[in-house]
């Protein structure tokens, strides 16, 4: 396979790398670190790149955000809009509006590439949250949060919270009708917190709603506070991944003490770079081809106007849905009324996030598993955890649907009241049903050991001379052993791996190479045959 030219080309390339490294090393003495860094191994599984999608979306957000910040004016001062034909949005000519809204109109109509930057920024935020949600699901369903990675799970959730708040503050900055409506809802939710609510709301807004202090404050929050928090948390997140190294799916040649995959340089850097280019391309395409938040149609915000079908961005939808579904109960205690929005707006997300933050501890109690893990679980092997995760997804989906009731009711030709009622029951029924189906599916998959989506790997059918059939590739032995780890990963084509790299420095894995020895992990094995808390 390796011809003379290829070998020469490889040597030439390595020479350049060496020259570059030498130049840096002469000055910084950093060769050791760089060499180690460039040799770092990244597992070859596509789902590990979704976290990177999130990271690169953040890069796009920073770049486009800087551009928007050049033109945005964080001021609630009242101005009269005077566009000239061809430069500006004529249907709003002569209207009173905040300076902030005017500046966003200018970004959309007057600033060169302003609108495409604004739309890329908004689409990037939408995709950012989708990638984070998917990444969170992967970590959850594969048990990647287990010891020793509980801290990174917490950091990840803090990132999720920061990005949600960052997204909401960005949604509120244009000061159009949707922004103002969203802020009005949040003002009421803050006010509903018992005892301190009113003071807190007036402190945050600086006055009664809407006031003129919030826009400049939100700008500081959106521009500095949360971006810095995200950068800090992201750095910690990545440093911990670096320190603790990646997890990986079990598979041939993979053990708790080694990592197989691609070196950072050159393979993984090229993969990652390709993904970065695709993300820029896709977000550019979305920003250029699909309109998002046409603020000029919503018009400037006035506290006495509102639009039907006002919704938050999708990732806040479940909170909006929670407020919409909560029954009209009222509570009085110690002479104080606990205002209704407190329960769906503060308590529900409070409980949800508490459970999420505590999940590594809960999981440890459920599975009585205190051992450190570097190999992942297959979701089917932990049916209860998988059922909890699927149930949670059903819960969020139900609430998100509730946020779109005005659209749904129209599309389904269903009375609003019945839709609300169905979704209210759905909050309890949907998670139970979805969880039960997931649980049963996991058990069935454990038995058949088939991949739920893909065709079984291997599978060359051979007919022998005496008429018997058997399949090649079965010797890999998934049907024989019930831990089934042999088929948990895609069938790598084998020559994709030059060698098994020892990423631990203890030299134990090099010899493992292609032996593809199945190592039964005590912990993983125990989880299958061990006590199952769900009572199966």
């Amino acid at each position: 396979m390796s011809t003379t030219e290829e070998r020469l080309a490889a040597e030439k390339r390595m020479k350049y790398e060496r020259v570059g490294l030498d130049a840096v090393d002469d000055r910084l003495g950093s060769s050791g670190f760089i060499q180690k860094a460039l040799d770092k191994i990244f597992p070859d599984h596509w789902s590990f790149m979704v976290g990177e999608i999130a990271m690169y979306c953040f890069v796009v957000l920073l770049i486009t955000g800087v551009y928007l910040a050049l033109y945005y004016v964080p001021s609630a001062a009242d101005v009269v809009y005077h566009p000239t034909p061809g430069h500006g949005y004529m249907p709003l000519a002569g209207q009173h509006m905040s300076e902030a809204y005017q500046s966003v109109l200018n970004i959309s109509f007057n600033v060169r590439a302003g609108l495409v930057m604004r739309q890329m920024h908004h689409w990037a935020a939408v995709v950012f949250m989708a990638a984070i949600a998917f990444h969170l699901c992967r970590i959850f369903f594969t048990g990647a949060f287990r010891r020793p990675r509980e801290t990174n799970w917490v950091i990840g959730l803090l990132l999720l919270l920061s990005v949600m708040l960052e997204g909401f503050s960005g949604y509120s900055l244009p000061d159009d009708l949707l922004s103002g409506t969203g802020l009005r809802v949040v003002f009421s939710i803050v006010e509903s917190i018992p005892f301190i609510g009113t003071w807190l709301a007036f402190d945050l807004w600086g006055s009664q709603f809407p006031g003129s202090s919030l826009i400049p404050r939100l700008f500081v929050v959106h521009e500095f506070l949360f971006p810095l928090a995200i950068i800090g948390l992201l750095t910690a997140h990545l440093m911990l991944i670096w320190r603790q190294k990646h997890t990986d799916f079990p598979g041939p040649g993979k053990t708790e003490t080694n990592i197989r995959g691609s070196r950072l340089w050159p393979q993984y850097a090229i993969k990652s770079g390709a993904l970065l280019m695709i993300i820029f391309g896709v977000l550019g395409a979305l920003g250029g081809l699909f309109q998002i938040n046409a603020i000029w149609l919503y018009g400037p915000y006035n506290p006495y106007t509102v639009s039907a079908g006002a919704q938050p961005d999708w990732y806040v939808g479940w909170l909006d849905g929670s407020v919409r579904l909560w029954p009209h109960w009222e509570f009085r205690s110690f002479g104080h009324e606990i205002a209704n929005p407190f329960f769906p707006g503060v308590l529900v997300p409070g409980i949800v996030f508490t459970i999420m933050f505590a999940w590594p501890q809960i999981d440890r109690l459920i599975y009585k598993d205190h051992v450190a893990h570097n190999l992942l679980d297959r979701p089917r092997d932990k049916p209860f955890r998988t059922a909890v995760g699927v149930g949670a997804l059903a819960f969020f989906t139900d609430l998100t649907f509730a946020s779109g009731t005005d659209l749904l009711g129209n599309d389904l030709h269903m009375p609003f009241e019945r839709l609300i009622e169905i979704l209210q029951y759905g909050v309890f029924v949907a998670p139970l049903v979805a969880g039960a189906i997931a649980y049963k599916t996991c058990q069935a998959l454990q038995r058949t050991d088939a991949h739920p989506i893909m065709k079984p790997v291997g599978g060359i059918l051979i007919r022998t001379a005496d008429g018997a059939y058997h399949t090649l590739g079965d010797e890999h032995g998934a049907h024989g052993d019930h831990d089934g780890h042999g088929h948990a990963v895609d069938d790598h084509d084998g020559n994709g791996h030059a060698a098994a790299h020892d990423d631990d420095g203890n030299g134990s894995a090099d010899g493992n190479g292609h032996a593809a020895e199945e190592v039964d992990e005590p912990a993983a094995g125990a989880a299958i045959s061990g006590p199952d808390p769900s009572g199966s």
């Binding site: 070859d44 590990f48 979704v50 393979q267 081809l289 938040n293 039907a308």
Partner: protein, 297 residues
């Protein structure tokens, strides 16, 4: 077919061999750059005409025939009202007749249904005749009085078909013209609560829906404000002047094809629809991309 399947399998299962992996991303990048340059069209507002009500006796006679065939079974002889709860039409007036007929809301299939937009059951001549007849109902009934069914009329001066003032387009436009800016302001004050900021429509309680305004003509919008087709309230002359009604009607007309800078408008349904597009198209493509390159060793 097999090629498509193969490609699909490659996407789902990952590649069998090493290939140059930068060509695809570069193509996507190029597409993105091209899209970056793409900006969409602007809309223009059209101007509608006004149908004057005919007082021609033969038109009224033809209208009576049509009324007997299509309306009388519910609304009664000479529009005195029906026993099934259908309202009397004696004071309905030309605007209501024209609105309900041209928007296809009448005749209604079942009386407990909300009257919704439909293609009109009558052609232009038939509509003219029916409107002429219904506008003439007060005179007909005072000449041949029949007992009224249902409540007494509350609106002695039933609204005629309103005229909609033109948009101010420049120095040459006649006085009395209206601006889109005024229309936007009055629209968001009076209409957006139910009809949504971009006229996409919405929901009310008890299964009533708020129709989208994207098919409503200038005259129909003005008529609807004056008539108040249930469950919409009447916006009488005390609430909105003729000029304000015209401005709103012109703005609704503009919303049929608004300035859609920035690309496909996704029906202006708002953030939930946008989230769907972002997740399915944006994140979906990125998932496929990471699936394609992620498993390469």
């Amino acid at each position: 077919m097999t090629r498509t399947l193969k490609l699909l399998r490659r996407v789902l299962r990952g590649p069998a061999s090493r290939r140059r992996i930068l060509a695809g991303p570069a193509a996507v990048m190029a597409l993105g750059v091209a899209a970056f340059a793409f900006m969409a069209v602007t809309g223009t507002a059209a101007q509608g005409a006004n149908a004057p009500v005919s007082t021609n006796a033969s038109d009224i006679a033809a209208g009576e025939q049509l009324f007997a065939a299509h309306c009388q079974s519910c609304h009664g002889v000479n529009g005195v009202g029906g026993t099934n709860g259908s309202p009397e039409l004696i004071d309905a007036g030309a605007a209501a007749a024209d609105f309900y007929i041209t928007t296809g809301r009448m005749p209604l299939n079942a009386t407990n249904n909300q009257a919704l937009r439909h293609h009109s059951y009558f052609n232009a001549t038939q509509t003219r005749d029916l409107v002429a007849y219904i506008a003439d109902l007060p005179a007909i009934n005072s000449a041949h009085p029949l007992p009224r069914v249902g409540e007494e009329a509350f609106n002695p001066t039933s609204p005629g078909i309103p005229t909609v003032a033109p948009l101010c387009t420049g120095p040459g436009t006649p006085s009395g013209c209206v601006t889109l800016s005024d229309g936007q302001r009055y629209y968001s004050l009076n209409c957006a609560q139910c009809h949504q900021a971009a006229g996409a429509g919405g929901m009310l309680s008890k299964g009533d829906i708020v129709p989208s305004l994207h098919n409503a003509s200038l005259t129909q919008v003005a008529e609807a404000m004056r008539v108040g087709p249930s469950p919409m309230p009447v916006f009488g002359t005390g609430q909105l002047s003729a000029k304000q009604v015209s401005a709103i009607a012109q703005y609704v007309q503009y919303l049929h094809n608004p300035n859609n800078r920035g690309g496909l408008g996704i029906s202006h349904f708002g953030p939930i629809a946008e989230g769907f597009v972002g997740i399915v198209i944006g994140f979906g493509v990125l998932m496929l991309a990471s699936r394609l390159i992620g498993n390469r060793g």
